[in-house]
């Protein structure tokens, strides 16, 4: 009888515990959705059950940022050169001990790794992959890069396609792990760090005093970030209750002030889709122009923010 009572109590506890887990899971899903690459839940209303027939209208928004690998490809495709001096030194790794510094610099090192790999810098790629692995482990993201991945990287060091795939998979593992473990603030800081580093590299690689900034692909990609920074702000706004995010958000908003000086003209003509081409092409009604002064101010602000995060 006493044993039965004991089992009854254990069973009650399990049922209660499971219910709590389910509840947390549901709210975690909401949190996760907020994070899932920047989920903004806009409208979760009208969950109406009609006699078992669920009439559910929901709308959620993901705001995505360019990944480190996309950033690196954009930089290379713009005709930029490789400059190893611009990378965050791997010697700085020991400096990072807080969640914020580790998360931001995991993003920064991921972009540096992608940039080095895109320019076939094999030894640097291995070094930065190993550094990203250590930092990810310090952050508790054991799934990002395992020993097998490191061996695969070393084995295929001269095969760029394989290396790019490894980096892409590592980044996806890291994102998925942070989402599954409900770590939205850390995830958003990793993404922010990667984006800041990409912008830092691009702005440092443009010599505003010497280069023609009109019809300059790299300059165009820099000013394209005026679009992406709005996604980053939306992402950070979701987690601004975290102290680390609040201060990061301030820096990004300050940076956005420079982007807002860029002149954007939109014609009244609607954009069209050219379907006659082999691949569909979305035409545009936007004209953007920037002055050397704005670019210099942007480069200065990005450097100031990035320097603060790497030291």
């Amino acid at each position: 009888m006493r044993i039965n009572y004991l089992f009854f109590r254990v069973f009650t506890f399990i049922v209660f515990f499971t219910s709590v887990l389910m509840f947390l899971s549901c709210s975690d899903d909401k949190k996760k959705d907020d994070l899932d690459n920047e989920f903004t839940e806009k409208d979760m209303n009208s969950n109406v059950e009609n006699g078992g027939h669920i009439d559910r209208e929901t709308r959620k928004i993901f705001h995505t940022l360019p990944s480190p690998i996309e950033t690196a490809l954009i930089i290379k495709h713009s005709g930029a050169v490789y400059d190893e001096n611009l990378l965050n030194s791997t010697k700085n790794l020991s400096r990072y001990s807080t969640n914020k510094s580790m998360a931001l610099n995991l993003g920064i090192y991921s972009t540096d790794l992608s940039y080095a790999s895109m320019f076939d810098q094999t030894q640097t790629s291995i070094l930065y992959m190993a550094t990203a692995k250590k930092l990810a482990e310090k952050l508790g993201i054991l799934e990002m890069i395992d020993e097998q991945t490191m061996r695969k990287l070393e084995k295929n060091i001269n095969n760029k396609d394989v290396i790019m795939t490894i980096i892409s998979e590592s980044f996806m593992n890291s994102n998925a792990s942070l989402m599954q473990n409900e770590r939205p603030a850390v995830l958003s800081m990793v993404l922010a760090g990667g984006w800041i580093e990409g912008l830092y590299l691009a702005t440092q690689l443009v010599d505003v005093d010497k280069a023609d900034i009109v019809e300059n692909d790299l300059v165009d990609r820099v000013i394209d970030q005026r679009l992406t920074i709005t996604n980053l702000i939306s992402l950070l706004e979701l987690n601004k209750d975290f102290e680390d995010i609040a201060s990061l958000l301030e820096d990004i908003k300050e940076l956005n002030a420079s982007f807002e000086k860029i002149k954007v003209e939109v014609s009244t003509k609607k954009p069209l889709l050219n379907t006659t081409a082999k691949i569909a092409k979305i035409k545009s009604n936007i004209q953007v122009s920037v002055t050397p002064e704005i670019l210099k101010s942007l480069a200065k602000r990005v450097k100031k923010i990035r320097d603060k995060y790497i030291l």
């Binding site: 669920i54 559910r56 209208e57 954009p271």
Partner: protein, 149 residues
């Protein structure tokens, strides 16, 4: 006594299954969807979640000029055909798979870099009494032309 033991095990299994759903969704995105990107390089972002019929998600992203882009949408078998649309920043409809036999991928380029909205809707079936749920993933790939299919 036996009933309590069984109930105990059932409760444990139930608790475990709640958490395995999330991991399955990631596994699904990794193993079942990535191959549809073909020679396009996956950007590495993880956009996957469990959706129920009637739910709608949007993904806002800057697509850069000079690259070829591929969007791949995939969903687990229990879900009906997914409505996949692309809008520009002013909500002009650019692409819908509704008239394309619900094709789950689209390749395109942009004349100038711009924000696009990838919209995914899991429709409600009128003949279903209960809404079904399943994993849905949106993967984005790009190429510079030489590696794209």
């Amino acid at each position: 006594m036996k009933i309590f033991k069984k109930s105990f095990l059932i409760a444990l299994l139930f608790a475990f299954s709640v958490y395995s759903v999330k991991a399955q969704c990631e596994e699904f995105a990794q193993s079942e969807c990535k191959s549809d990107l073909g020679n396009y390089l996956h950007d590495g972002n993880y956009n996957a979640t469990t959706l129920t019929q009637g739910q709608h998600i949007e993904l806002v992203k800057t697509f850069y000029s000079g690259l070829n882009h591929r969007i791949v949408v995939c969903a687990t078998n229990e879900l009906p055909d997914i409505l996949f649309e692309v809008f520009d920043g002013d909500r002009n409809l650019i692409f819908s798979n509704k008239n394309e036999d619900y094709i789950m991928m689209w390749d395109f380029t942009v004349e100038t870099s711009q924000q696009l909205i990838v919209s995914i809707t899991v429709p409600i079936s009128s003949d279903e009494k209960f809404a079904k749920s399943g994993c849905t993933a949106v993967l984005l790939g790009f190429s510079t032309g030489s590696i794209g299919e």
